[in-house]
C-alpha cells in the first residue's frame, strides 16, 4: 500500500510538472520544474527501498544487512539534489524576471504567437 501511494504520488507530480513545463509562460515553466524536482527527489529516495522504523546507522548486535537498516546513501543523494534544485530555481526566477522586464512579456519566446513582432 505504501509503495502504491508513493508511486502514484511521484506519477501525479511528474504529470503536473510536465504539463506546466509545456505551457509557454515563464512562471508556469518554473513551477513545472519545481514539481518535477520534487518527483525526482522522491524517486531517488525510493531507490533505497521503503522501510519503516529502521535506522540508517550501524548498531551493535544487529547484522549489517539491508534487512535491518535503511540505505543511508539515497538520503545523502536527495539532500544534494534538493540543494542543487533550490539553487537552480533561484537562478531561473532571476533570469525570468530580467527577461520579463527587458522584453515586456512573460511568454518564453518574449512574444505571443501570431504577434508578428
Amino acid at each position: 500500500m505504501m509503495e502504491f501511494a508513493l508511486a502514484s504520488g511521484i506519477g501525479a507530480m511528474t504529470a503536473c510538472g510536465v504539463y506546466l513545463l509545456l505551457r509557454a509562460r515563464s512562471f508556469d515553466v518554473i513551477l513545472g520544474l519545481t514539481l518535477l524536482s520534487y518527483a525526482t527527489n522522491l524517486l531517488i529516495f525510493s531507490a533505497g527501498r521503503l522501510a519503516v522504523g529502521k535506522p540508517p546507522v550501524l548498531q551493535e548486535g544487529l547484522p549489517a544487512t539491508l534487512a535491518n537498516y535503511t540505505d543511508p546513501l539515497p538520503q545523502a543523494l536527495v539532500l544534494t539534489a534538493i540543494v542543487i534544485a533550490f539553487a537552480m530555481t533561484a537562478v531561473t526566477i532571476v533570469v525570468a524576471m530580467r527577461s520579463h522586464s527587458d522584453n515586456g512579456s512573460d511568454h518564453v519566446d518574449t512574444r505571443e504567437p501570431g504577434d508578428g513582432k
Binding site: L43, I44, G48, P74, A81, T92, R98, S99, N103
Partner: protein, 508 residues
C-alpha cells in the same frame, strides 16, 4: 599517495574563491590570480598526459575511502587529453577576455575558474553521481558567464538555455535513481560488473534508465533532435565565453564515450554496447542536418554554431564505430575541432566588430578594417575546420575514414565526404560575402582595429592547430592507445577494485 589527479579540480576551485576575495581591489589582482591558476593548470595537465602515457590507469581515492564506498577519480589517456585540451582552450579564452571583456562582465574571472573546476571534475571522476554534481557546477558557472552583462534577447536565449539544462539535469537524476535502485552502486566500474550480472527481469529497467542517461548526454552534446537550443545560445553568448563553451558539447560526447564503453561496455552482458547501434545513425543524420544548417546560416555566428554541431556529430560517428583505430581518430578530431571552432568564434567576433551596424549578418557592408589580417586568420581556420589539406582537420578526417570497418564504408565515407564539401561551400559563401563584397557608405568611420591580445588569442588557437598537424604522428599514436584503452573496460574494473585505501583500515 600521489595527489596529482585531484589538482586539476582543486587549483581552479581555490583560484575561484581567491578571486572572489580580491575582487574589490580591482582588475589587476584578479588577472594575476587567474593567470597563475591557468599556468599551474597547464603544468598539471602536461604532467597528467605524461603520467597517463606511461600506460595503465591511475585511481585516486578521494578522502582515502574504498572505491565502492567513496568517490574515486580515474586518470587514463582519454581524460588526460580532455584536461589538456580544456586548459589550452581556457588560456586562449582568458587572453581574449583580457582585451577588455573582463572589465565589463561581472565576476568573469571567478566564474571562469569555477567552470574549469566543473569541467575537469567531470572528466576525471569515476562516480556517476559525482559526474552529476560536476555537471551542475559547470552549468551554474556557464549560466553566470553567458548572462553576465546581458539584456534583451540575450536574456531570452539564456532563459531557454537554463530551463533546457535544468530539465536535462532532472532526467539525469531520474536515471541515477533508477540505476542506483537496480545495481546498488554509483561507482562506474563497480556498476559495470553489476549490470553484467543483473537478473534477467531487471535488464529491461536498467536499459530504460541507461536510455534516459543517454538522452541527457546527447542533449549536452547536441545530437539529432536535441540540438535546437545550441545555435541560438551560442550566437548570443559573448565571444570569450562561447570559445570555452565549444568544449562543453565535447564534454557531452566524452560522457557518452566514458559511460557507454565502461558501464555499458563489453562487460555489461546483455546490454553490452547497445547504445552505439543507435548513436552511429543519429550521428550521420545530425552531420547532414548540421551541414545544411551551416549552408543556410544567415549570420556568421549562426554558421559557426552549426559547425560545432557538425563536429560533435562526426565524433559520434567515430565513437559509434567502436574500434580502437576509429575511437583514436575521433579523439584526435575532438581536440582539433575544439580548438578550431573556438578560434572561429573569436575571429568571427573580431570581424563582427569591424562591420559596424551590419554586425555578423551576412549582408553587404562597408569595407572592413584590418581585412588582410582577419581574412588570413579566417582562411586558416576555415581550411582546418572543413578538413582540407594540409591542416589538422584533414589529418583527423583522414584517420577516421581510414579506420572505418568495411561494413560501414559506404555510409560513413559518403556522409563525411559530402558534408565536408557542403561545409567548404558554406565557408566560401561566408568568406566571399564578408571579405570581397563591400559598398562604401558616406557616413562610415573607420572602426577601431582589433586589440593585440585578442589577435594573440586567435593566433594561439590556430597555432595549436598547426602544432597538432606537425606533431600528428606522436599525437595519433597517443590517441590510438587511448582508444584501445577505453574500449577495454575490464582493465578499469580490475584497477579500481584493486586500489585499496592507504591509511584507513579496509572496512569489512
Amino acid at each position: 599517495m600521489n595527489h596529482l589527479p585531484i589538482l586539476p579540480i582543486l587549483i581552479p576551485l581555490m583560484a575561484g574563491a581567491l578571486i572572489l576575495l580580491v575582487e574589490r581591489r580591482g582588475l589587476l589582482p584578479q588577472r594575476i590570480v587567474a593567470w597563475c591558476s591557468m599556468l599551474a593548470m597547464l603544468w598539471v595537465a602536461a604532467l597528467l598526459v605524461w603520467r597517463a602515457d606511461q600506460g595503465g590507469l591511475v585511481v585516486y581515492l578521494v578522502g582515502d575511502w574504498p572505491a565502492r564506498l567513496g568517490i574515486a577519480l580515474m586518470v587514463d589517456r582519454v581524460n588526460a587529453l580532455m584536461v589538456m585540451t580544456t586548459a589550452l582552450l581556457a588560456t586562449a579564452s582568458l587572453l581574449y577576455a583580457a582585451g577588455g571583456w573582463d572589465r565589463r562582465a561581472l565576476h568573469f574571472h571567478a566564474l571562469l575558474q569555477l567552470l574549469l573546476a566543473g569541467l575537469n571534475g567531470a572528466y576525471l571522476t569515476g562516480d556517476l553521481f559525482n559526474l552529476f554534481v560536476f555537471f551542475e557546477v559547470l552549468l551554474i558557472a556557464s549560466y553566470g558567464l553567458m548572462l553576465s552583462g546581458g539584456r534583451g534577447l540575450r536574456m531570452r536565449a539564456g532563459m531557454h538555455y537554463v530551463v533546457f539544462n535544468i530539465m536535462a539535469s532532472t532526467l539525469f537524476l531520474i536515471a541515477l535513481g533508477l540505476l542506483y535502485g537496480m545495481t546498488g552502486t554509483l561507482n562506474m566500474a563497480e556498476m559495470a560488473l553489476r549490470v553484467g550480472a543483473a537478473a534477467p527481469q531487471d535488464v529491461a529497467l536498467i536499459r530504460a534508465a541507461s536510455g534516459v542517461l543517454l538522452v541527457v548526454f546527447c542533449a549536452k552534446a547536441a545530437l539529432l533532435p536535441l540540438y535546437l537550443w545550441l545555435p541560438e545560445t551560442y550566437s548570443r553568448a559573448p565571444a570569450a565565453v562561447v570559445a570555452l563553451f565549444t568544449v562543453m558539447t565535447k564534454m557531452g560526447v566524452y560522457a557518452v564515450l566514458r559511460v557507454y564503453s565502461l558501464v555499458f561496455g563489453q562487460e555489461a552482458g546483455e546490454l553490452a554496447g547497445w547504445a552505439w547501434a543507435w548513436l552511429l545513425p543519429a550521428g550521420v543524420v545530425t552531420l547532414v542536418l548540421a551541414s545544411l544548417g551551416a549552408l543556410a546560416g544567415r549570420t556568421l555566428r549562426g554558421t559557426v554554431s552549426y559547425l560545432v554541431i557538425a563536429s560533435a556529430a562526426t565524433l559520434f560517428i567515430a565513437f559509434g564505430l567502436q574500434t580502437a583505430a576509429a575511437v583514436g581518430a575521433g579523439l584526435y578530431y575532438l581536440a582539433h575541432s575544439t580548438f578550431v571552432t573556438a578560434a572561429l568564434f573569436l575571429i568571427v567576433d573580431l570581424i563582427r566588430r569591424q562591420r559596424g551596424a551590419t554586425a555578423d549578418r551576412l549582408e553587404t557592408a562597408a569595407p572592413m578594417g584590418s581585412a588582410t589580417l582577419l581574412g588570413l586568420m579566417f582562411l586558416v581556420a576555415a581550411v582546418s575546420v572543413a578538413g582540407l589539406p594540409p591542416l589538422s582537420g584533414f589529418i583527423g578526417k583522414l584517420a577516421l575514414l581510414a579506420a572505418v570497418p568495411p561494413a560501414q564504408v559506404a555510409l560513413v565515407w559518403t556522409t563525411v565526404l559530402v558534408t565536408s564539401l557542403m561545409i567548404v561551400i558554406a565557408l566560401s559563401r561566408v568568406g566571399s560575402q564578408v571579405f570581397w563584397r563591400a559598398r562604401t557608405y558616406a557616413e562610415c568611420e573607420a572602426p577601431r582595429p582589433p586589440q593585440r591580445v585578442e589577435v594573440a588569442a586567435c593566433v594561439l588557437l590556430l597555432a595549436v592547430g598547426v602544432a597538432m598537424t606537425v606533431a600528428a604522428g606522436p599525437l595519433l599514436r597517443y590517441t590510438q592507445a587511448a582508444g584501445a584503452q577505453v574500449l577495454a573496460p575490464s582493465d578499469y574494473i580490475e584497477q579500481v577494485r584493486s586500489t585499496t585505501p592507504k591509511k584507513r583500515e579496509p572496512s569489512p
